[in-house]
């Protein structure tokens, strides 16, 4: 039988926390599952980093595989010990008759940055998760990049819950704030023609301003690059600096248009690297090599 996410979290936290800290947490979790009210929840959430320390959650490849099996797309790499314990506290809490989304909103309104990150990383695991769609949207508006990435990166919630509009704006904002696109779960799966158009417009803005265009942008364009204009953009990028060329080549390889094959053929070095599996979106370097 597959483990439930909450059981995995419990196991990881118990393994890593000091014994007396775990004993304390287990008691608190029991209380939250029983009679404890919201004031107790706030205090437990506040005390968790003090009792358990703020180390990275130590996960082995097996753990990540178990997470993936327990909840499709869930990737807790980069979680912290206190963050995991905070999500456990939230999963344990039984709010009497109050929708979970309301409890979540109250917590989010008074959270510090580290707490926000923990709260949002837990999104795929909460009950009634569809009801948290607007809450996730609010989190994406944050100016704190780490908070934004708690939703956008390594988190299947946006893939599973967002409509195309919110999805597209999340991907676009990732570019704006200098976040990688590759850690977005479901990036290729949720690709759509509207996003491809938005990305191409953005590339034109960057070109007009004389600013570099991140090669990851073209990943959202490739499968929809069928008309002359889109292919012309990719041809232009293929003519650009080395890092941008790599993105353009990968996008051309993903285009269904025969014309794209022909364009890619003009860059035989990149075509060969793609065929050999050496040039891939997840290995793309975004930095130009030092001159």
């Amino acid at each position: 039988m597959r483990a439930r996410p909450v059981d995995l979290l419990r196991g990881w936290v118990q393994l890593q926390a000091a014994p007396e800290a775990w004993t304390w947490l287990e008691e608190r979790l029991d209380a939250l599952a029983g009679e404890a009210g919201e004031r107790d929840l706030y205090i437990v959430l506040g005390l968790i980093p003090r009792r358990l320390a703020k180390d990275d959650l130590e996960l082995q490849p097996d753990d990540l595989a178990a997470a993936q099996a327990a909840s499709d797309g869930w990737n807790p790499s980069g979680w912290s010990l206190d963050g995991a314990a905070r999500v456990l506290a939230l999963l344990a809490f039984r709010s009497e008759g109050r929708p979970f989304a309301q409890t979540f909103k109250q917590l989010r309104r008074t959270a510090d940055a580290r707490e926000l990150i923990a709260l949002y990383r837990g999104l795929p695991l909460y009950p009634e998760r569809e009801s948290l769609e607007a809450e996730a949207g609010e989190g994406l508006r944050s100016n704190m990049r780490a908070v934004f990435e708690a939703i956008a990166h390594h988190n299947p919630f946006p893939r599973d819950v967002f409509d195309d509009h919110r999805w597209n704006h999340m991907v676009l904002k990732a570019l704006f704030v200098g976040s990688r696109l590759d850690p977005i779960v479901g990036l290729d799966q949720r690709a759509n023609a509207e996003l491809a158009r938005i990305m191409r417009d953005y590339a034109h803005e960057r070109w007009a301003a004389g600013r570099p265009v991140t090669p990851e942008l073209w990943r959202c364009v490739g499968p929809f690059a069928v008309d002359g204009e889109a292919l012309a953009d990719l041809a232009r990028a293929l003519d650009g600096p080395p890092v941008e060329r790599e993105g353009a080549a990968l996008a051309l390889a993903a285009s269904p248009a025969p014309e794209a094959r022909r364009l890619l053929h003009q860059a035989p070095d990149l075509e060969a690297a793609i065929a050999a599996g050496d040039l891939r979106w997840d290995r793309l370097s975004l930095q130009e090599p030092a001159a």
């Binding site: 008074t110 510090d112 704190m144």
Partner: protein, 307 residues
């Protein structure tokens, strides 16, 4: 030399201030919850304000390599709005245990009214319950008596003076504060509080034990470089380096470090890239540059192009 500015309302300051402070050697700031220049009339605005100083402002400071801490509390002016005060007292426990909250403050007296007294005492009890230090704002008017009374009330509530910083001292109040075992804060604030030449004289007379220098910079005419400028002037005028280090760095760390939320390693050994807070590290410490005092915005003013 590294400095801490343990009283700075950065929410009212620009990025020029952060840049200038970082360049002058400020590695950490403490942002006390305060009166924002005009009264808040809803508890909701108070919640958002406190959420800003525990989250957003902390992140903003981190972008300049400055570690940001704060204190939370109901200030004395707004304690006189009873409806607001009751609401704030209800939500304060939610904020007091946030990351980087190093004290309950700034609390105390303004006009020394009954309501101010009531909420000062309630907050002292909260500090005791949560084992947090206290930052006391002493009144501008009737200062000497208000300062004495603040300390009397702390003692009455069984708060250890070593956990209380009495701030905004002057020549008239410092003697008693030190004699009774409290920390004595001095705000280097033009015109109304303390000037730095006077501060140097106080350091010469009393030494630096339990003395803490801050800028109290805010939305008024104030100087975000109050601490490094005072340190420089003190060194020039013959105050020993060790005493300057205490008054402009170590004492604040010791007093507020009692919260367990502030330690030297936060800025001396930050993780290379702190993914969960996005603290950018301290370029001064990393690059080994000498701190320099430059007017905020100086670099921006010198350059005509905006990229």
């Amino acid at each position: 030399m590294m400095f801490i500015d343990p009283h700075a309302h950065m929410i009212s300051r620009t990025t020029d201030d952060y840049e200038a402070m970082a360049a002058a050697g400020v590695v950490a700031v403490i942002e006390p919850a305060f009166w924002v220049g005009q009264p808040r009339t809803y508890v909701g605005t108070y919640i958002d304000y406190l959420a800003s100083i525990v989250g957003w402002e902390r992140f903003r400071a981190g972008q300049f390599g400055i570690r940001h801490y704060c204190t939370v509390g109901l200030n004395s002016k707004e304690a006189n709005d009873e409806e607001l005060a009751e609401g704030v007292m209800e939500i304060l426990p939610r904020f007091a245990l946030k990351e980087g909250v190093v004290a309950i403050g700034e609390i105390g007296y303004d006009e020394q009214t009954k309501l101010e007294d009531k909420y000062f005492r309630l907050q002292l009890e909260l500090a005791k319950e949560l084992d947090l230090p206290v930052m006391v704002h002493t009144p501008h008017r009737d200062k000497k008596r208000g300062t004495t009374r603040s300390m009397d009330v702390c003692e009455e509530h069984g708060i250890d003076p070593s956990k209380v910083v009495i701030d905004h001292n002057n020549e008239e109040t410092v003697g008693e504060v030190l004699q009774r075992g409290f920390w004595a804060g001095f705000s280097i604030y033009p015109s109304t509080k303390m000037g730095n030449a006077r501060m140097v004289e106080i350091l010469k007379r009393y030494g630096a034990e339990r003395i803490i220098v801050d800028s109290a910079c805010d939305w008024g005419i104030s100087d975000s470089l109050g601490v490094p400028k005072t340190a420089k002037l003190a060194l020039e005028r013959g105050v020993p380096e060790e005493a300057v280090h205490r008054a402009c760095y170590l004492n604040a760390l010791t007093a507020y470090g009692q919260s367990g939320q502030m330690q030297e390693a936060d800025w001396l050994n930050p993780p290379a890239v702190d993914q969960r807070t996005l603290f950018e590290g301290n370029s001064i410490l990393r690059g080994g540059r000498e701190p320099r005092i430059e007017v905020p915005g100086e670099q921006r003013r010198r350059s005509l192009t905006i990229e």
